[in-house]
């Protein structure tokens, strides 16, 4: 079964060729993994403590949160050259690109601020006060709402992108880490690392629709800590990284039930899919590697050694 999955990946048509870019927090580098060969094909140097990573819509630029350099760096993904830095506020950790392909919403972890930067003029257009230790960032598909989650305040802050002001603050469980809009933007999911849950909100009125809980056999509930998550094609399932429990959960997005747990590397954090979402790449901070999951089989098929403390991951098509 494993062999078949790998073979299929290798035979994938050219249209699906691509790379997974992984930031290595403690190496100040990016490892580039080929989604065909499942090997590291390139390593690029970045600023200090790279974490969040995201591509522009046409993939001509890659934005990197260089947290300890207090900048968002703009890199040319063809050459690995840093083109310029964007002002980002102090300690940028995680960010999201507005559908207008122009505005970055950046969580400034040390300052309890969300900074909005115009990537064309390279100017800060707004700074919004949020809770302590902002981290998770999301923007709705229609671009009207941006979300910041704050780890110590334990809230999702809802930002009206028209006015750049908060219009709602919703409490979630302890240490919210990651947020995503789902199902065309009708739902908004927030993971809570210490709370051990994902809260599902209805976007229209910010009410809580569901709370997803996790239980990994043989692992103390305290160590089951949901962090990053991504959705399969059609948003039918969520793959949820469970931190130090070293597992990824597969959640049915209709029933909100967990269907599977997949063993991966140590302290699994964030993840990215390949082009057709048949493979999922998870960053495992403590073991310093990336686990490749066969999405259909729900099995880990390979570990790829990257740099120290891999954190963020993003996909880039190469044709």
């Amino acid at each position: 079964m494993i062999r078949i999955a790998v073979t299929l990946a290798l035979m994938a048509p050219a249209a699906f060729a691509g790379e997974i870019w992984v930031t290595n927090e403690k190496d100040d580098t990016i490892s580039v993994i080929s989604t065909e060969t499942l090997e590291v094909i390139q390593t690029y140097e970045t600023g200090e403590r790279p974490r969040g990573i995201i591509f522009s819509r046409d993939y001509s630029r890659v934005y990197i949160c260089a947290s300890d350099s207090n900048a968002v760096q703009v890199m040319d993904p063809e050459t690995g050259k840093i083109l310029n830095d964007l002002p980002s506020g102090d300690d940028p950790e995680q960010f999201v690109l507005h559908p207008n392909d122009r505005h970055l919403y950046i969580a400034n972890e040390d300052d309890a601020i969300t900074t909005v930067v115009d990537t064309e003029t390279r100017k800060v257009i707004a700074q919004i006060d949020v809770g302590v230790e902002p981290e998770g960032m999301a923007v709705s598909p229609d671009g009207k709402i941006a979300i910041t989650t704050s780890e110590t305040t334990n809230m999702a802050h809802w930002i009206d992108t028209e006015t750049q002001k908060l219009f709602a603050n919703t409490l979630v469980d302890s240490r919210p880490r990651h947020a995503e809009f789902v199902k065309g933007g009708t739902e908004m999911w927030v993971s809570a690392e210490i709370g051990g849950t994902i809260t599902v909100f209805r976007t229209a009125d910010q009410t809580e629709l569901a709370k997803i809980e996790f239980a990994v056999q043989g692992v103390h509930p305290d160590r089951v800590q949901p962090v990053g998550f991504e959705f399969t094609a059609g948003d039918t399932h969520a793959f949820v990284a469970l931190g130090p429990s070293n597992h990824v959960a597969v959640v049915n997005t209709e029933t909100y039930e967990v269907e599977d747990y997949i063993l991966v590397g140590r302290r699994v954090w964030h993840m990215a899919f390949n082009a057709d979402r048949s493979l999922l790449f998870t960053t495992n901070g403590v073991s310093g590697d990336v686990t490749v999951i066969d999405v259909a089989a729900r099995e880990a098929i390979k570990s790829i050694k990257v740099g120290r403390f891999p954190w963020g991951a993003a996909f880039r098509p190469t044709d």
Partner: protein, 392 residues
């Protein structure tokens, strides 16, 4: 159609703005930080002065965290402070503060803490112990109105004992100082060694009055020679007087643990995992120094109250105390696990760092030390052995 959607969204936003304001009417909490100065015995070294604001600085950072969260919920916090000098009237100062607020963070020795807790004015108050480590305060001498965010000595010695077990350093010897704090640490250590099946093969009291800064290389080898062979040497030197001169001067080449060397502490500047780097840098920026265990205990006390207010939107003692001691309560304390309170003696459950001054070596509870309720309860006085009954 687009217009209708937009209008609907605007209405939704308007409701979102109005509803929380209506639901969460302003809640305000005043918290008092009361410091009772404790005599500090002289130490040989002048290298590490205790910061004047030890503890209080942590409360200040906790207050800041609470305020940032509170502004989204119309909840405000105020921190007032008083310092009682040696020989001044402790109880009068406590009464004065209790007249303002029932929420006190107490930075005092065990005796003063109990005297304050037993005041009639404190019977409906909620006190947080951020200094006293005596296991007795969590057992026979517990009080229903006192919660402990400071780790007990027993939690710390249990944490170290777990590391000794894991490393198979079974044969141990101990040097004990003459101060009360040293004695009580040694007592907790003996209990932990018994609890985890380790052997204490020798024990000596440190009685030198020479200046060891000049003599350690001559005296310490002789002093430790008659211990014979052992796996590790434990120091009970909680005032940090002589211990530092024992390292690298022992007769046998063995690791030194306890009050110096490899130490079990509730907080240390070397903790950076579990998001702790953020708390460390936030603290350092606000206070211009590194965060210590007492700062951490005070921070945890403030955050405990903040978390309870956030979740209940109440400000009365009965509601907050009930919530804090319930299963619902969890505090994200930058130690990798949710922290909670033991509802049978008021002690904050927390992992304990086992560290040397430059790095974290382990964090207890260690893997393999299981417990039927919560692995963190393998540290400190556990429910069956606790004589605390006033919480039941």
């Amino acid at each position: 159609m687009i217009l209708t959607n937009l209008v609907r969204q605007l209405i939704a936003m308007a409701i979102a703005i109005l509803v929380p304001a209506g639901l969460w009417a302003e809640t305000s909490l005043t918290i008092g930080y009361l410091k009772i100065a404790q005599p500090r015995p002289p130490t040989l070294s002048n290298l590490d002065p205790v910061p004047e604001d030890s503890g209080f600085a942590g409360a200040r950072t906790g207050l800041q965290d609470n305020l940032t969260t509170g502004k989204f919920l119309d909840q405000t916090y105020e921190l007032i402070t008083a310092v009682v000098g040696e020989g001044e009237d402790t109880l009068a100062a406590a009464r004065e503060m209790l007249a303002v607020t029932p929420y006190l963070v107490i930075d005092a020795g065990a005796a003063d803490l109990l005297n304050i807790a037993d005041l009639p004015e404190a019977s409906t108050a909620l006190l947080f112990n951020v200094s006293a480590g005596a296991p007795d305060l969590r057992s026979g001498n517990c009080r229903a109105n006192v919660l402990h965010t400071a780790a007990s000595d027993a939690m710390r010695t249990d944490a170290l004992a777990q590391v000794l077990v894991q490393k198979r350093w079974d044969d141990l010897v101990m040097i004990v100082g003459t101060h009360a704090a040293d004695q009580s640490y040694a007592e907790a250590m003996r209990r932990s060694l018994t609890k985890f099946g380790l052997r204490l093969e020798g024990e000596k009291t440190w009685v030198f009055d020479a200046d060891m800064r000049r003599n350690a290389a001559q005296e310490v080898p002789l002093f430790t020679q008659d211990f014979g062979d052992y796996d590790a040497l434990i120091l009970a030197d909680e005032v940090h007087d002589f211990g530092r001169y024992v390292l690298y001067n022992t007769w046998a080449a063995r690791p030194v643990v306890g009050s110096e060397g490899l130490s079990a502490v509730a907080w240390s500047p070397v903790i950076e995992q579990w998001g702790a780097a953020q708390l460390q840098s936030r603290f350092a920026e606000q206070n211009g120094r590194e965060m210590n265990a007492q700062d951490y205990a005070a921070w945890a006390a403030l955050r405990t109250l903040g978390e309870a207010v956030t979740r209940t939107n109440a400000s009365d003692v009965a509601t907050l105390r009930g919530y804090i001691l319930s299963d619902e309560f969890e505090l994200a304390g930058f130690k990798g696990r949710p922290l909670s309170y033991r509802d049978w003696n008021g002690q904050l459950r927390q992992p304990i760092a086992v560290a040397h001054p430059r790095a974290l070596v382990a964090q207890a509870p260690l893997e393999g030390f299981l417990h039927q309720v919560n692995e963190m309860d393998s540290l400190g006085v556990d429910r069956p052995e606790s004589m605390c009954e006033v919480f039941e």
